[in-house]
């Protein structure tokens, strides 16, 4: 679950980090009111969970409350990388003397937590990481040992601060808060970019990002509730798919893809692409999908406006081919769809599945390559 900036900052504040004063606005009137309360100039920040908002026009400075009203009016409803702006975070404008970068992730290879710190940060951190990787300090924290003074010292010194100063206190508190959010909120990422040294000499996170592990949401009912009220970065189809219980990712082609298992489904997309077609989506029905789940999955794609051909590639282990076939049959019967369907079925109860599908006249392939080629041909017709 990707947290909005204001939620991420609230979490850091909860653990003792000083953040610029801010209010969430849902209407231009609220933005106006917020600007008056906080005192101009203010920054209006679109709350969409994608990186690169600033470049897309989702961050604006307002010098007066009236300007905050006008700018927010233009910003509400704006589409930023496919997401519509419905919330704007109005915060005190803070001028940065220097912009830094600090993030905390789980390092897969070493199986430890990993702080990435750079004395230069801001919008182009990925380019900085590529062009001058030596600027980025890596500090590993073993989960069994936990965050220690020496870890904080390595980060603080690298970012250019001296022990005993006010900034040292502030950076220590930020590092500790980030670590606590990471561990206590089951986060996969806690990031502050930019982390600013302000003109007034304070160290303050000007932006914050937190991604929480979906598998641990049951331990955080506050976040679960927030996600229900605001599903964030999912499309209509993705939200629906999640409810039914399969994995769905929207793509931009015209061949609908259904597979069982993440790897096989990705491979099916790649196969379509390999033969010159364009996948419309990724849809993994998971392991051991029932007739009902398959029916819903097929229906989603039959109804999808962009999908011209549905390509189903199943290699049954736990998943039974006859259940899949019944699901396909049901979906066709219920929607009465005229879209073309190509099915490749292998594995458990393959024979029964084959019989069911030939009854309803759906072409069946044994070989996924031939099936993919056929799907691509049909999409061109």
């Amino acid at each position: 679950m990707k947290l909005h900036e204001y939620e991420a900052k609230e979490l850091l504040a909860k653990y003792g980090v000083e953040i610029p004063p801010g209010r969430l606005a849902l209407t231009p009137d609220e933005a106006l009111k917020a600007a008056k309360e906080i005192g101009t100039p203010v920054v209006l920040k679109a709350q969409v969970v994608v990186a690169g908002r600033g470049k897309a026009g989702g961050i604006k400075v307002a010098k007066t409350p009236e300007e905050a009203y006008e700018l927010s009016k233009a910003m509400f409803g704006m589409n930023i990388k496919g997401l519509v702006v419905r919330k704007i975070y109005v915060t005190k404008y803070v001028e940065a003397e220097r912009e830094m970068y600090l993030s905390l992730i789980i390092d897969r290879a070493s199986r430890r937590y990993l702080f990435l710190a750079s004395p230069v940060g801001g919008v182009d951190i990925e380019e900085i990481a590529k062009a001058s990787p030596e600027k980025i300090k890596r500090v590993y924290v073993d989960p069994a040992v936990g965050l220690r003074e020496f870890h904080i010292r390595q980060i603080g010194l690298w970012l250019g601060f001296r022990p005993g100063t006010r900034q040292w206190q502030q950076i220590s508190s930020i590092v500790q808060a980030m670590y606590r959010v990471m561990v206590e909120y089951d986060a996969e990422l806690v990031e502050s970019n930019p982390l600013a040294l302000t003109k007034d000499g304070d160290v303050i996170p000007l932006d914050a990002r937190v991604i929480v592990d979906d598998n641990a949401l049951y331990r955080h009912s506050d976040l679960e509730k927030a996600l229900e009220e605001d599903p964030r970065d999912v499309t209509e189809f993705e939200a629906y798919a999640k409810k039914i219980g399969f994995h769905y990712v929207e793509l931009d082609g015209d061949i609908g893809i259904i597979g069982n298992g993440a790897g096989l489904t990705m491979s099916t997309m790649d196969l379509v692409y390999h033969f010159g077609g364009r996948p419309a989506n990724f849809l993994d029905i998971g392991g051991g999908a029932s007739r009902e789940v398959v029916r819903e999955a097929v229906k989603v794609l039959l109804k999808h406006p962009r999908v011209r051909v549905v390509f189903i590639n199943i290699f049954g282990g736990i998943t039974r081919a006859d259940e899949v076939a019944l699901g396909v049959k049901d979906a066709l019967a219920e929607t009465g769809a005229t879209k073309k369907i190509v099915v490749r079925l292998k594995g458990t109860n393959e024979e029964q599945g084959r019989a069911i599908l030939s009854e309803v006249g759906v072409p069946l392939f044994e070989n996924a390559e031939e099936a993919a080629q056929r799907a691509v041909e049909l999409a061109r017709v």
């Binding site: 994608v50 789980i106 897969r108 290879a109 199986r111 990925e126 990481a129 590529k130 073993d142 989960p143 069994a144 561990v183 089951d186 996969e188 592990d213 979906d214 598998n215 641990a216 049951y218 331990r219 994995h247 990712v249 793509l251 597979g259 069982n260 298992g261 993440a262 790897g263 096989l264 489904t265 990705m266 491979s267 997309m269 790649d270 196969l271 692409y273 390999h274 996948p279 990724f282 993994d284 998971g286 392991g287 290699f315 049954g316 282990g317 736990i318 292998k346 594995g347 458990t348 070989n367 996924a368 390559e369």
Partner: protein, 292 residues
Amino acid sequence: MTVLVGPTTRVVVQGATGREGSFHLQRMMEYGTKIVAGVTPGKGGASVHGVPVYDTVEEAVRRHGANASVIFVPARAAAEAVLEAVDAGVELVVVITEHIPVHDALRAINYARSRGVTVIGPNCPGVVAPPVRTKLGIMPNSIYQTPGKVAVVSRSGTLTYEISYQLVRAGFGINIAVGVGGDPVVGLDLMEATLKVAEDPDVRGIVVIGEVGGDAEERLAKLYAEGAINKPVVAYIAGRTAPPGKRMGHAGAIVMMGSGDARGKIEAFKAAGVPVAETPFEVPKLLSKLLK
């Protein structure tokens, strides 16, 4: 004996009385695996398909000399099941369970490793070794009937079956297939599992099945280039068409912060001299060329 399992592997199934646990316990026994006990807290004294069930792993190990465990425990309790297995003294733990919180997995896996216990998974199909008729996992038995000299190491379940099936159809036999799991943090990762199977003198060729996310493939490619693996390797990478920032079904299959995409992995393998198959069906062809 193969590198991870063999005739001396005595298996306890944790979560043995659940739907998945009891179903696969039976399939594993049918395959030939020595399943000696099941564990389900609160169900001690029961039996599943003729196998005695205990309340703790400790008791199952003490009474039956179990030295390996397969976990079908639901996600919320699965990490603790790993800790219990480690403390009970098993040497190998295979975690089938999907959706385990990553911080839980991180702690449990680190603990197991610190005690010298090998963990495979979580969110994996397990390990199967046809020459010794032993399976700790959920792979379809029908595909793994032909013993041979090829090792398959994979981050994906169904794709492991698909490619194993293609290999068998092309006349190859399988020595071992290891699905390391689709989560961001796994016990034995793709690189380590490949190094492990390469140690086996019976293995003549290795098929590595990678996917988007992380850098295990890149690390493996680097080791291969340095000469750490003295055997032919063929790779296949799923997810060339995966968009950045989206999780492709697996928790670990995500291109993030500009890294982990299929292109980088394919290029790393090619640069290291490992042929990369364009499609799963090309894998046997590439392997045949190398093994000639």
